[in-house]
């Protein structure tokens, strides 16, 4: 199986990689680019642990092929904090204990960030539906939903 040569942008940096046609974007991030922050919980688009944004749009990276990435741009959990400063969602997740095992956390953070970019003032119900594609088995979602709503309020307040 010959490999494809792909040039793409990952977290703002130009990268090149070789990938075989079966590898997903998630495989490429984790195995070829060593960005293991995006997690694999199902590889079928059901758990959201692999959430990234592709050209600004929230996707499951396990449902995108590595070869589809030519010329495109992906943002992962690894680029969410800037320098030593955590994103307000990351900070709030810590303070609100919105993670237990933490395995779903990167996916939730990426998805929640994308929600707040589209809708800075979501209702509880909108937040629950937006995040319905992200599974968490530890928390019962309560603290996650609260953390997202509180961050939204904080971010609105600081503008």
């Amino acid at each position: 199986m010959s490999k494809f040569h792909i040039s793409a942008t990952v977290n703002g940096e130009a990268v090149e990689y070789l990938c075989d046609p079966k590898q997903t974007l998630l495989d490429v991030l984790r195995d070829e680019l060593n960005l293991t922050g995006s997690k694999e919980g199902c590889s079928s688009g059901d758990c959201g642990a692999c959430s990234v944004t592709l050209d600004g749009r929230l996707v499951c990276s396990c449902l995108v092929l590595g070869v589809e990435m030519q010329g495109r741009s992906v943002e992962t959990i690894e680029s969410m904090a800037s320098g030593e400063k955590l994103h307000p969602l990351q900070q709030k997740f810590l303070e609100a204990a919105a993670l237990q095992c933490g395995f779903c956390t990167p996916g939730f953070l990426v998805a929640a960030k994308s929600l707040l970019e589209k809708n800075p003032n979501p209702t509880e119900s909108e937040t629950r539906y937006w995040l319905a594609g992200n599974l968490c088995r530890c928390t019962g979602y309560d603290k996650i939903i609260r953390a997202v709503l509180e961050t939204a309020a904080d971010m609105r307040g600081s503008k």
Partner: protein
């Protein structure tokens, strides 16, 4: 170990950010699948498509010849284990354990491993699996526990002779064991009852559903040692079992604990580690195996399905007079279901003079049924709490008052023998009784349900080390994997005893060669038992500090007290000395005897049982049978909440797992014995939009067996939801659901049948 009663805590009970938190919100934390060693190969496992089949032959020659394939193994590569349980093996049947990890002469369930390969890429490994030629002779299979118990059912093993029956059977069967325990004489006492309700309940296999699939990286070294990186609920358990199954000395295996992405009991045993080690040994390169979600469902250790009969008798005023429970649990393809604990826990919330708890466990052609949060208790409790509620309905009395009237408390004798010490059952009930939810009026098709739950909590072996650095900061190390914030709890307890700031304590989960033995993270034992080890190790440091300061001040050690992180003179007689801080003492460590290292290695007894009471409001759509949860409140006795936010998280997470168990989750098998829903799309766990907020109420009735009063909080929260929902649905619709999960079609059919 006393001395903490009545003391105001400075750190315990606060809610600081967890020490491992930043790694986990930035993607930096390393979980099982994140390990990447130079030259690492991809391991994949070939699994049986049949529920029950004799393996006639396995031809791996084509796979071995595929370029990029570096190793292929089958059951033949595994050492033979002794059949049966040897004395000293703590009840583990290593022949079964090994046969579950790699099938020998028979495949016993859809998904049973039959061969494994290691190759230079995932694509090649998968191609190789397709080239392995396994010849099967398909055998009749049995999936349901009641069917498996019948004489003439397809036999899985020729060496299972039912234990607990007399005379000892001379023929093998699927029935693993009979458990029977009784208090008083329930059958005779039923004659005093004004009302008797007897019901049968069924439930399906459910999975723990941790989001992180099992993952391992193994490396074989030329000197015969193995190194393993994996996520588990206990790396010492992984070490012990892997060494034993591969005939290795325990110290030749080193296991590094990765972060664990959920376990809930499902990672308290091994499935792939020996396979990875054997592949690595054969390939002479490190091998990583990461299970797919399909493999996780088909071939790990879900919770058993059950078939249960419960009969309870009561007086007109609601006083219970007698109860009998008969619990039949699936075991999967090998023994291991939590039947004993289920029998013991079933009637835990009630004071009963006459009660019998008994049951059978039977092997079936399913994956090994293993531990899931408060193992056995949710199913037993679902049946008991449903019957209690029905009695209250029939007698037209308040189900809360009935529970309080009959509630177990300090001094109540349990069906398994001992009496309860101080527990929080009544307090949990009263907290729910006094909650404002009870005042909210219910609309049409709405109902309110209530249920109580019990779990033992466990103690056991733990070790801990507290190292004080030159500047007085502390590194604390245990061997208990942090599955939901336990590093934070450990650091809080150490900070409390040492009297230093929480931020000056760094907790580490050490590997099997770096720290003393710790049992698995299960049974709600870590904050209790490993926490006790941390407290004792920190007390050890404090004692050493006092001794050193006493030597410097030339006084007796009793003349030096430890307060607020400082050594101080005990009183006026001890002389005029300036207090010395831990940092100051640490700076003088070299000159006063060397490094300050506190240690503790314990086998903790005194675990205190946990109780929980949940109440919920539901609305049932009469057109679809769909259940919407409107409100949910959960009370639980934590003994002492070390980090209340993570205690709340355990309560909320347990409740939601129970909600999934009650409403959606089930293993669905076809007539061919194959699992039909081995993915999250079809095995649907609750998602955010299914749920309301879960309001936790933490109660603190101190456990007399722990210096800070800790009980452990991980498990009991999953016990009440099943019945709480069934009871709410019953009050919303007038139909009682006795078959889990309570899916819309089942509820609709029940409503239609009543019309």
């Amino acid at each position: 170990m006393a001395g903490y009663e009545g003391k105001a805590f400075k750190w315990v009970g606060t809610r600081p950010v967890r020490p491992d938190g930043v790694d986990k919100v930035t993607g930096r934390a390393n979980y099982g699948a994140d390990q990447n060693l130079a030259g690492q190969l991809t391991g994949r496992i070939l699994r049986s498509p049949h529920a029950h089949a004799k393996i006639l032959s396995i031809d791996t020659s084509k796979a071995e010849k595929l370029p990029g394939v570096k190793a292929v193994i089958t059951g033949k590569d595994f050492p033979q284990m002794h059949r049966g349980v040897l004395p000293g093996d703590e009840g583990v049947n290593f022949h079964y354990l090994s046969s579950n990890i790699m099938a020998r002469d028979k495949a016993l369930y859809d998904g049973h491993a039959v061969a494994a390969v290691a190759a230079t890429s995932a694509a090649i490994a998968e191609e190789a699996l397709a080239l392995i030629d396994v010849k099967y002779e398909v055998l009749p299979h049995v999936i349901d526990v009641d069917d498996a118990l019948k004489p003439g059912a397809p036999l899985l093993h020729d060496d299972i002779f039912t234990t607990g029956v007399n005379p000892k059977p001379d023929k093998p069967s699927n029935t693993v064991q009979r458990v029977h325990m009784a208090l008083g004489d329930a059958n005779a006492a039923f004659k005093d009852a004004d009302i008797i309700v007897e019901r049968s309940f069924k439930s399906k296999t459910v999975h723990q559903g941790y989001i992180e699939p099992h993952a391992v990286v193994a490396e074989w070294c030329e000197d015969g040692q193995a190194r393993i990186w994996c996520s588990s609920q206990g790396h010492f358990m992984v070490r012990a079992l892997t060494a034993r199954l591969l005939n290795m000395e325990v110290a030749q295996v080193r296991v590094m604990p990765a972060e664990i992405g959920g376990g809930f009991g499902g990672k308290t045993i091994i499935f792939i580690e020996p396979t990875a080690v054997l592949l690595a040994r054969k390939a002479e390169r490190p091998v990583r195996i990461v299970m797919s979600r399909d493999e996780v469902f088909r071939a790990t250790g879900p919770a058993p399905g059950s078939s249960i009969d419960v009969k309870i008798g009561a007086k007109k005023n609601g006083m219970l007079v007698a109860a009998v429970g008969e619990f039949r649990f699936q075991a999967g393809a090998f023994p291991g279901s939590p039947l004993g604990p289920a029998c013991m826990a079933a009637f835990g919330p009630y004071a009963l003079a006459h009660v019998t708890s008994a049951g059978y466990e039977a092997v079936t052609n399913r994956p090994l049924c293993f531990s899931y949060r408060a193992p056995g208790a949710p199913l037993a409790s679902f049946a008991v709490e449903s019957v209690i509620d029905e009695i209250a309905q029939k007698l037209n009395i308040d189900p809360m008052e009935m529970r309080i009237m009959n509630g177990s408390k300090e001094g109540t004798q349990m069906v398994y023998g001992p009496k309860l010490k101080a527990v929080g059952n009544l307090e949990c009930l009263k907290a729910i009784k006094n909650h404002p939810i009870n005042k909210i009026p219910l609309g049409p098709n709405q109902g309110r349900g209530l249920a109580a739950g019990f779990w033992f909590n466990l103690g056991g072996q733990s070790s801990a080390v507290v190292n004080i650095a030159e500047d007085g900061t502390a590194t604390i190390m245990t061997g208990s994997p942090d599955i939901g914030g336990s590093r934070a709890s450990m650091a809080l307890m150490a900070a409390e005893v040492l009297g230093i700031d929480y931020s000056k304590v760094r907790p580490i989960v050490g590997d099997t060669s770096a720290v003393g033995f710790c049992e698995i993270t299960h049974g709600s034992r870590v904050t209790f038992a490993t926490g006790m080890a941390i407290i004792q190790a920190a007390e050890d440091v404090v004692l050493q500090c006092r001794q050193r300061v006493a030597a410097m001040w030339e006084v007796d050690v009793e003349a030096v007290v430890w307060e607020d992180g400082h050594a101080r003179p005990a009183g006026a007689n001890a002389g005029e000395q300036k207090p010395l801080s831990l940092a100051q003492i640490a700076a003088r460590a070299a000159r006063t005897g060397g490094p300050l290292v506190g240690k503790a290695a314990i086998n903790a007894g005194g675990a205190g049982p946990a109780f929980a009471v949940h109440i919920c409001d539901v609305e049932v759509d009469p057109e679809t049978g769909g259940v919407k949860i409107l409100r949910y409140v959960a009370s639980q006795d934590a003994g002492k909440a070390i980090h209340p936010s993570y205690v709340e998280g355990q309560i909320q997470g347990g409740a939601v797992q129970g909600i999934g168990w009650a409403l959606n989750e089930e293993y669905i098998y076809g007539a061919d014995g194959r699992l039909q829903n081995s993915g999250f799309l079809d095995y649907r766990i609750p998602v955010a939009s299914d749920l309301p907020m879960i309001e936790p109420i933490i109660l603190e009735i101190p456990n007399p067996g722990h210096p800070f009063g800790v009980r452990g909080v991980g498990e009991v929260g999953i016990v009440p939801p099943l019945a709480a929902l069934a009871n709410a649905i019953s009050r919303a619709t007038g139909v009682r659901m006795m078959d889990l999960p309570m899916t819309p079609p089942k509820i609709l059919a029940a409503i239609d049948a009543k019309k």
